[in-house]
Symmetry: C2
Subunit: 305 residues, 2 copies
């Protein structure tokens, strides 16, 4: 990737990730109602939309942030599951004909193609409710007041001043050319808000960090959230549909502003590299506790390269 | 209404209701982001969908239930506002072309007609997030653990085993004829769950009720929730579009099972009367503290007659 040194992903990081991905899958399996429970078709469709796919980057970020704060793995997995449910709902709604009208997601037909539009609408709605139910139902902290704060963080990150707002800004931007600061504003909402929430929730499953430490984690989250989107735009340009598991080249064809259209491929790669450096510096004071966050930052920036 | 004695709504109940409706409108005005805040079009559409319409039955039920438990008006208004946001989101999504495809709501063009489908989808999504944000952000009880329980109640009532699930059962029922127990199962989810949640939240803003009292309130909630739907079905048959503020006769035309199709108009009216009696009996032990709940039960069963 441009001037980034070629690196291989450390085996023990892959093991750490796979272990957590497997545990998360189990938690999601249990959290999602069984298809035997009425309404069966809706529950089957919810499971279809959530299970058996995805890199689970947000829950992994929650786990890694939890390690910085000495959180229990079980609590961060549940917090991560709530974040992943919000992410999964947003993908289902995003793929609907009135939004991106996409037919392929995670290598499978999208939810409204496999089921139908009305069911996909309800799947997204019900997954959002379920995310908040998880945060309200399980014991994720020793202080209920702190758990309320976690709910407030996720609700705010999902809403009109977070992810849903980012989608609206995206809609308004189709056909217009945005410059880099405008793109940043859009993506800070659209994908950045939930990534920040994943880290904030993970941290809150553990011991309270002091204010400076919290700001460092949050700065890391902002950098990595933006880097994630920049790399997504690069992949959308350079990869093929089979590798991505979703329709490649779609953003450019649908005249959506991307980092590649704003900065060119080389410029976008350079920005991703800068954001990674910035993210790493934010972790400087945490020492070994932040090793997984650093590895995830590398993984996010260098995936598929 | 059938053998129900003709009654006029007591003036002081109307005053009580109007006072709370006005205060609720103020709270909603403040809770909903201003259209000056980006993304402005989304925020304008959210306000369009929520403000200046609706009987606010669910917040009134929350206020009346709060009076039984000695809750502060301010707290029950905020809990009621959260419930109303969930209700408003469900109407916006319900009216979408892939669901009921309706063009008129509360006497105005539906959200996707006034704006566009993608915006209406995001309006619903963002209103749901906002509802949980309200419950997490304001202080509604003296115990944060109890407030987490309120969040759990609303999330569960909104989700796949509550309102969204009821919508899915409704989708599966189109074109089939349901008997009264099947209809009850559908409506206990579709409209009943959120009405129960409104009462449960209102009660939890005040002093804890004992178990028997909680069960009485919950039984009242179930009866009144079902009565609400039965009366809706009667109104859909007997009223005209101007009076309803939404398209009349639509359920029958779209071959949806209703209480009128299952029981006939006389049978539906008789069921509404029985449910009202049952609801009133559930309140017997509360004396004067439940006067508003009784008046609301009458209002729900006798509206527009």
């Amino acid at each position: 990737m441009g001037s980034l040194p070629l690196q291989t992903v450390p085996t023990e990081f892959l093991e750490w990730s796979r272990h957590r991905q497997a545990l998360l899958e189990e938690r999601l399996q249990n959290i999602l109602p069984a298809p035997e429970i009425a309404p069966g078709r809706l529950h089957a469709a919810m499971r279809y939309a959530v299970l058996g796919g995805g890199k689970r980057v947000r829950p992994l970020l929650a786990c890694a942030a939890g390690e910085v704060a000495g959180a229990s793995l079980e609590r961060t997995l549940l917090a991560g599951a709530a974040v992943e449910l919000i992410h999964a709902y947003s993908l289902v709604h995003d793929d609907l004909p009135c939004m991106d009208d996409d037919v392929l997601r995670r290598g499978k037909p999208t939810c409204h193609v496999e089921y139908d539009e009305a069911t996909a609408l309800l799947v997204g709605d019900a997954l959002q409710s379920l995310a908040f139910q998880v945060l309200a139902e399980y014991r994720l902290t020793d202080e209920p007041a702190l758990q309320l704060e976690m709910l407030r963080i996720l609700a705010s990150a999902a809403g009109s001043r977070g992810m849903a707002g980012g989608q609206a800004i995206d809609l308004e931007a189709v056909g217009r050319s945005l410059n880099a600061p405008e793109l940043e504003f859009m993506h800070m909402h659209k994908t950045g808000a939930i990534i920040r929430a994943a880290l904030q929730l993970g941290v809150r499953c553990g011991k309270r960090l002091d204010e400076a430490q919290s700001l460092h984690i949050d700065h890391f989250a902002k950098c990595i959230g933006l880097a994630f989107q920049v790399v997504d735009d690069i992949l959308d340009t350079e990869s093929n549909t089979a590798t991505l598991g979703k329709t490649a080249g779609k953003d450019a064809r649908s005249d959506k502003p991307t980092y590649v259209s704003a900065l060119g491929v080389a410029g976008a790669k350079s920005l991703a590299r800068e954001l990674r450096e910035d993210a790493m510096q934010a972790l400087a004071s945490f020492g070994d506790r932040a090793v997984r966050l650093r590895q995830l930052a590398d993984f996010i920036v260098m995936r598929e390269f």
